[in-house]
Amino acid sequence: MQNPVYNSYVKLLAFDLLSLTQTPSSSSSSVSEPTFSRRGIPLSRAETLGTVTLRDHKPHKFLRFLIDDGTASVPCILWLNHMTSPYLARRRRPDDLRLIADSSARFAAEVRVGVVARVRGRIGCYNGKVQLTVSDVVVERDPNAEILHWLDCINLARNCYNVLPGLGPGPDPGLPPSSTRKENLAE
């Protein structure tokens, strides 16, 4: 995998993230997970930052929530079934699973409607739509973190994602309605 972006958590604005190109996995791998790409560049993980606007908690199963970063809302899923999943039980030591389950439970407790959360995860797909499978959640207390994230997204898109030798045109990150943002900054 020569693509440096593939294994890193790309910072994309929500509207950008939701409009990734999905291609059903053409490779010979047994799992038929679609791959995602932006401007022809394959991506696997992403980081998003925004306000939690929806929370759907199924104890010991999962927590679904929406992260709204001002451009769109990213659906996220945080799995809480580590102790019950037979799939994981076969592959991981129970102690490790306990640790992971504990930290997931902590993340779930932090995700409350209204907080600004920084979420990292794998890009996946549910019902044909892009969804983040959460690996960790950090609640940001500095309101400027959101602005910095937007700027990061723009900066990365300009200086990194767009300049990489891609395979085809993708959605232009452009400059989403930014007048409000600048007002914030001016404060």
């Binding site: 294994n7 890193s8 640790l99 992971i100 930290s103 690996s135 700027l151 990061d152 900066n155 300009r158």
Partner: protein, 1239 residues
Amino acid sequence: FSDDSASVCCDLLQFQAYALGKQIRVTAWNFVPFKCHGKSRAGFLEIIKWCFLDPNEEANQMDSIPLVPNRSCGSYGNNSKARYRVYGVVESVGPVSVVPCTMVASVSYSDLNSSSKVKMLGFVVQLMCCECRLCGSKELISDLESDSGHSFTKKETVYFCGGASPWHPAMTKLIGNRVMVSQLKKKLAFITKEDSWVMHVTVDVSVLHVCRVSKKWLPCLKSGMKMKGECGTYTGVIKGVYMQGMALELDHDVWLLLTDELHTLMHGLRVGAVISVRNVHFVDPQFSWTKIVILGACVKTSIIVESFSPLETACNVVLKSQSMLGQFIQSLPFSARLWLLLLVSSLRKMFAGSLSDKEILGSKHEEGLAQMYASSLLPPSVFQSEHGSFIGIRKHDLNCCSGDLHCNILKLVIPVSVFIHHCIDTLERTLKSENRCKLLPVGNHSRVLPHLARYSSRPGRKTIPGKDVGITLLGHLKINPLTTRLQLVDATGGIDVLIPDLPLTWNAEEIYEVTEYDIFVDGIGELGDRLELLEIESLSCRTIFNYIQPARERELSSSIFAYFHWNNAKCRKFPRYPCRDKKNESLVPKPGCYHLLRVSHKFPLQGKYSNIMKSDKSNTSVEAKVLPFDLLLSEKREILHSYNVSRDKTKEISDYLINGNNEEQVWSNKRQKLDKESACASKDDFFTSINELRACSNLLNISKENKRSFDLSSDDISCLANFRRLQHENVICTAVVRSKSSTKSFDSKSNARKVLLEFSLDSLFTYQSLKIGDCYIIEHCTKDCFCNMKDAGFGSRAKFRVGSGKLIFSISFISGKDSVSPSADVILTKEQIEGFLLRSNVDSPDVSSDVCLYLPVNLTDLLDVNIIESEYSEMHKYAVSEESANVSVGPGIVAGRTNLCCGSQNSNFVFPEGNLISLEGDVVDIHDIGSSLSNACSSAASLDSLQLKGLIQNRKSLCIHVLVHKHMVKIFGSISKHAYPIGFGPGVTATFHRILDARSENKFMLLPVSFIVIKSIKVHDKQCTDWSFNLSLLKDAYNPSPDSVSCLISQLHQCPSNKQIMLRCRVVAVFILVLERNTTAFDIPLAGFLLDDGSSSCCCWANAERAAALLRLHEEPTTSRNLGRILRNYQKITVKNQGLFIESPFQDLAVSVTSGNAIYQYDENNLKFMIFNACAGRVWNVVASLMDAEEVRQLGNDYLTETTNLRSLRNIWANQVSCPRMLAEAKNMLQELRRSSCL
């Protein structure tokens, strides 16, 4: 309670006032016989259940009871003045007291009994009254009872006196009840000359009405008790009665302190009784060592027994204490009072056997040890003057009587054994709280080994700063016969002490008080294994009063020691403590002739003290060089008080000393002595010189002569000696330093002879305090070999026994270098001496020796040269002669060296060659090399072939890592357990004397003759396990170094390699983490992080605080504490990410430890948790430098496993880690973006 035959003191429950004087039937009772002094004085009847004999009595209870029986209550208005009445709730009852008749006559009773000379008994009752109209009116009591709307706010005082005074116990029972006392007189009582008090006084016709309102009125307690002496009521069960009933423990950690009156009068205060204490002061003493509440009784306090004790406990009968101590105790505020009671209790245990109770407690007219000690600590302001009950109550009302002391100044004194127990318990508690669910190791090897053999594998040393303990150590300094270690002992036990600057002056007879010290406990891991903890607190007032000898510290006491400097050990001199006068005179050297010695080496103690006893031959020896000078001290002395030294006085003294006002007498005594000595005809040089001395009419002539023309060829140099052993005063006398060399001149470079000082058993303490390199004087004696021995060079060394009678004084030389011009080749002028004296008084802490010799400048130089010269030649000769082992040093050492000696004759053995040197440095680590010694030494060529098996027997082989001038040095070897100094371990600064330079890089060998001196111990903070890194670098967030460039990880390949780069990124994974134990807590020598900023990932290597920050150890102190705890068990821990692919959170972490043991699952989980936590952290600003390929390859080979997605990544080394400031970063980035879009 009485029948026709006799009466008995009694107490009863469900008291009803109208039962007094009636016949009752007692249906349930206890009788407690007094354990009293011989007399068959009955006992104490506790009436549990009773009823009236005549059932009709119940019905026709009388409302009004005349206070004085045999008076009908109907005689209203007999006395026109007795028309007042008081209606209210009984608030407090004062103690019965005797009012002197003069006062009675002048005030209250002038009209009644004006001619009375009798002392009147009486007591004060305070009632809270209602000020409403109804109460003020003269309505019948029944009307009042029906009314419930009263608010009792006004305080009224009724003085029950004369015939009413036996009502005291009844009134006490009535506290809280509504009563009305009528037919009273109103009087103005003068309490002091200034203060008067309006009160009601009972007369013979006064009547008491007890209201039958069942509800008791109690003053409502203020909701927020501040524990600062507020008054209140407390009900509880007596758990223990201590100190003759002066202190009662109620429930748990509530201590009731009784006044003299209460504890002598109350008989029912037995263990198990439920008592209710009214009007008692609540005090939180704020003792640092325990948390308790003190209930302090005062004049207004009364105690009611609510339920008698079902236990068969004796009741205490105490006579009012007459001793000074009793009065002293009563004069203290409550917290100090409890402290003093504890002190008394402790002192009695600590000096049981050596001091009698009378000496500790004192008597009627003399202060005891306890009182002397306490009054020396308490500021005079705390003492409260005792008042009579009248004044007491009055003062109580005016201002709260409990001006309490801040008890931090009061340090607890407890027996040593309790102290050790407490220290260990404290540590165990901390440990237990740290690892609540740690599983015990199954095979604990250390438990099998004998205790002392474990010293090298100690998992950790724990420090308890003495100031946190809040306890003063008090005891004698003694050498433990079993371990030959210095201990602070009392009758209950001893604790090892380490005093690096122990002077020769310490006296085993004195009581020393140490307030500032630190406690070190070694082998705490072993303690941690015993987690079966007692639930009771180790240090509570109960344990101190009871003093239950804790069983288990006997075996542990050798692993705990106290460390302090000598100036922190205060010698407590108690006037009545049997004073050792003979010691006092030995504080100052007697006039006479002394040899000058310089200790060149101390041989370690061999074998147990008990073995030494059996062999009757001491094998504690010290090698010393006899300097070619003798010191003659004159008899003429002047005492100089250091605290009031003035220039004039000094001048006067120096005048006196130099000019010799009284020349004829100065040396007369000396001469007689010398005459005697000359009788033993000796041809020795020394005696010749003494005879010459005799020939001189007096010594001061010489000094005068010298003063005129001083040249180096003369024998004598006169100087001033200053004795500083005594406290507060300096003794000064003239002295003469005389050359002993054959040419009898100072300019000849004479060699010092070497002697071996053997110490007898009773002078072991002298051995302990001799220091290598210091100079001493030892009294000349005709029998000793100093004089008889021939100057035979180095081959043979004379042995010389030092018994207890021999006095050795340390000496130091002060030259006139500072004040005398270099050319001054004359004896010191008066001014200079004055200067010295003044200086020596000012800088006395600098000079700790017993004797100070003020020398002319040239002589000091000469002495130095002589000492150094002999040292130098010594060193060379010694190095050569060491292997030939012609040094015979005590049986133990010889035994230890046998192998070496045999070796030199046996050609099969190759012996290490090299010089013996002394080394000083900081001990960083000690580890056991055991049988693998030869493996460990294999790199050193000369050590390689060494077969040390003979030495290793019965000894522990160690490798000591010592930091000497920033170079790490390894010292191999074995130390016998007796030579192992107290407290030796990582963190100490020590000097290693006579270790063998193994002629290989930084490697040395400990020999059986090697001696280790501990200079100091690093005292760590209590929170030493906490991560102590500087947090400022995190606070100071947006302050990147100016030469760093901010960039994305994907742009790293474009960056110039010499520039520092700054990344704003997050931790994705930790692929390697190495943790090591160090002296403070732990260290992170290396950690590898996978960082990601959205553009790409990179490998970031970091150590120390950068690594700690990225691991989020600052944010979670519990994690770092856990880590510190884990590392106490393992020397080094490595965590590797073994997954083929690094992905959070499913990282495949493998934890390995170097100590050989498997890591506990619990510890492993803790480590993994820490790493997971690090991977879900915030955004960091990392200032880093790019690593070149070679560095990366090196690190990668050592630490990286085959993780596929790491090899291709860029590697950076973190130089600084901080938190980004979001707003500032955003502003910067916006500008950046604007600029770039403009382009």
